[in-house]
């Protein structure tokens, strides 16, 4: 079994008057796709935001490859790549400039910067629009830019938060293929989604969150249990709680 890349322990968080997380714990390992599942509002995005240091937990701890999010947030961010459903790109920068900007802020420079940027542009077949301003790109092309800039610094942990929710079938397929490829290269991939079909196809292990609590945790087979598929299992768990 691979060592834990991300360790979340007894995480609690309140946003405004809403107690979003009530003691979430799980581990995600290198070389696996770990599903963070739950209905909308369950606390998936809040959990991911705490892992990537955008939010601080009220209680509990998170470690990414041994670095604590509260004690060494910059070291944590250096090892993370995050792709969200909201594809925010700088409209007046070209696709390449968008990627370069993030890469430079991640510490890449000189020949290494050019090599890695060229690498992701080639990987996602972005050569035809790399010099085009982002404002003129399609949603699928923007999503490629978003993924490329998230991985350009070659992070060991990749987090995808509902990455296909705004994409068409072809673009969604490419995202899924990339997640599988990243897993094959030994990366820890955390995949947050409410689409159980995607989770069942892609994930090795999952945790299901509901009302800020973990209601199921284990391999896809373990969580599916006696139910016909993960969705049926998910519905049964959610209705029970």
């Amino acid at each position: 079994m691979s060592p834990a890349a991300v360790t979340v322990e007894r995480l609690e968080k309140t946003l405004g008057a809403n107690k979003v997380l009530r003691g979430i714990s799980f581990e995600a390992r290198a070389g696996e796709i770990f599903g963070l599942l739950g209905p909308n509002g369950a606390g998936k995005t809040t959990t991911l935001r705490i892992i990537c240091t955008l939010l601080s937990p009220d209680a509990g701890t998170v470690e990414v490859l041994g670095f604590g999010t509260l004690t060494t947030p910059e070291q944590v961010r250096r090892r993370l790549g995050v792709v969200t459903a909201d594809i925010g790109v700088y409209p007046r920068l070209s696709a390449r400039e968008n990627i370069e900007y993030v890469a430079m802020l991640c510490g890449l420079a000189g020949a290494e910067l050019a090599r890695k940027v060229d690498g992701v542009i080639e990987r996602f077949d972005m050569g035809s629009f790399a010099k085009q301003r982002a404002e003129s790109l399609s949603s699928g092309q923007k999503q490629k830019v978003a993924i490329a800039r998230a991985i350009v610094h070659d992070p060991d942990v990749l987090m995808f938060d509902e990455p296909t929710s705004n994409l068409d079938v072809l673009a969604s397929k490419e995202v899924r293929e990339f997640m599988v490829e990243a897993k094959g290269r030994g990366k820890c991939v955390i995949f947050s989604t409410h689409v159980m079909h995607d989770a069942e196809r892609l994930c090795d292990r999952v945790t299901i969150i509901h009302h800020g609590l973990v209601v199921a945790y284990g391999s896809v087979d373990e969580v599916r249990g006696e139910q016909r598929d993960l969705e049926a299992s998910f519905l049964a768990l959610v209705e029970r709680t």
Binding site: L15, R49, C52, L54, L55, S56, E74, Q75, R77, R78, L80, V82, T84, D86, I87, G88, V89, Y90, P91, R92, L93, E97, Y101, V102, M104, L105, C106, G107, A109, A146, R149
Partner: protein
């Protein structure tokens, strides 16, 4: 390469491709010459315009020639008092030993014609008196037993020009620093939230203080560029248009470094404040609503010189941001001298303002609700 420098370069690159900011800077450069040209045309028109005097009675010999030479046209009317209400600028009744004048003080043309008439009559009276004395063999000099000889300590023309500049330059400097950077500040804060790029930026390992530093430095650069464009075009315009005394304008050597130093301090403060306000907004449009009052708050101190030209404040007044910069610039422009104590107090006040604005911006930029409230 430092994170602040990376952010700075990227922000400037975006600004140079942003039509809104470029238009703001372009307007800043164009607005001043346009305003000065308009002032020049109105002022020239007023100076050369012929005004009409509706009169009745016998015009004293020679007075008609003097009036025409002063662009006062004579027109016979039946009732000068009635005519002065609308038909002509002044109504005058010439009587044997008296001239009755009728004018409406609410009309600018009537006021100018009145001043011209009084001047012409004064000259006419003096010439008539002198001629009468000379015809009797008396020296006309007895009419002026005391002669006033003035010795201005500086060129009156230059003083008038400096007074104009002491109001206009700080006003343009401050408003252009503020408005020139508005668009860049909002684009860099509220714009990032609206486009959903802020999360990506904050996910990088770059410390947020460095990110903020890069953004503020970029906004400061844009603000100063707008101010330089506006002031540069003002000086170019002043060499091209006629503004009477204001044509003799030149910036004193003392004023230039003071202006640059104060502009930098003000720009840093304004950039921090507008960025802080921008981070409170969820959209660019909302950000505009937040920063617009800032314009009115800062314009009041800049206008004080217009309403109280001889305002001589105590040192405590130099603690008030913006007002202190206006006062120091006024002294440097009008008197070509620097009060070092006032400049030190002003610099400290503006540095403290900049530091507080920076801390406020950092606090707002690092709060969790920046990302959780949408």
């Amino acid at each position: 390469m430092g994170a602040a420098w990376i952010v700075y370069r990227k922000e400037l690159r975006e600004v140079l491709r942003d039509r809104r900011t470029l238009i703001a800077i372009g307007l800043a450069a164009l607005a001043t010459p346009l305003v000065l040209t308009a002032i020049s045309q109105v002022s020239n028109k007023t100076a050369t315009q012929t005004y009409t005097i509706g009169y009745s009675g016998e015009i004293p010999v020679g007075l008609d020639l003097l009036l025409q030479a002063t662009s006062l046209k004579l027109m016979p009317v039946a009732d000068p008092a009635a005519a002065a209400k609308q038909q002509v600028d002044l109504g005058v009744v010439f009587l044997p030993k008296e001239i009755d004048e009728y004018y409406d003080p609410s009309r600018q043309g009537a006021q100018i014609a009145d001043v011209r008439l009084q001047t012409v009559l004064g000259q006419y009276d003096a010439a008539q008196g002198a001629a009468a004395l000379e015809s009797r063999g008396i020296d006309p000099g007895i009419l002026t037993p005391l002669t006033l000889v003035t010795h201005p300590l500086s060129s009156p023309v230059q003083a008038a020009a400096n007074a104009f500049l002491s109001f206009f330059l700080p006003y343009i400097l401050i408003t252009m620093i503020l408005t020139g950077g508005f668009s860049a500040a909002l684009d860099s804060s509220a714009g990032e939230r609206e486009r959903k790029t802020l999360e990506t930026l904050l996910l990088t390992p770059a410390p947020r203080s460095r990110v903020l530093l890069g953004k503020i430095a970029a906004i400061t650069t844009v603000s100063l560029a707008a101010a330089v464009a506006a002031i540069g075009s003002m000086f170019v315009a002043l060499t091209q248009v006629s503004l009477g005394s204001a044509n003799h304008i030149s910036l004193s050597p003392a004023a230039v470094p003071v202006m640059i130093w104060l502009a930098l301090l003000i720009a840093v403060s304004f950039s921090s404040v507008s960025l802080a306000l921008g981070t409170l907004a969820k959209t660019f449009r909302q950000g505009q609503a937040y920063v617009t009052p800032l314009y009115f708050i800062t314009i009041l101190p800049a206008s004080i010189i217009l309403f109280i030209p001889d305002f001589n404040p105590s040192l405590a007044y130099y603690l008030i941001p913006i007002l202190n910069a206006v006062l120091v610039l006024r002294d440097a422009i009008v008197h070509n001298s620097i009060d070092w104590t006032a400049l030190a107090v002003t610099s400290l006040s503006l540095l403290a303002t900049g530091a507080l604005s920076w801390l406020a911006a950092l606090r707002l930029f690092t709060r969790e609700t920046l990302l959780t409230k949408t």
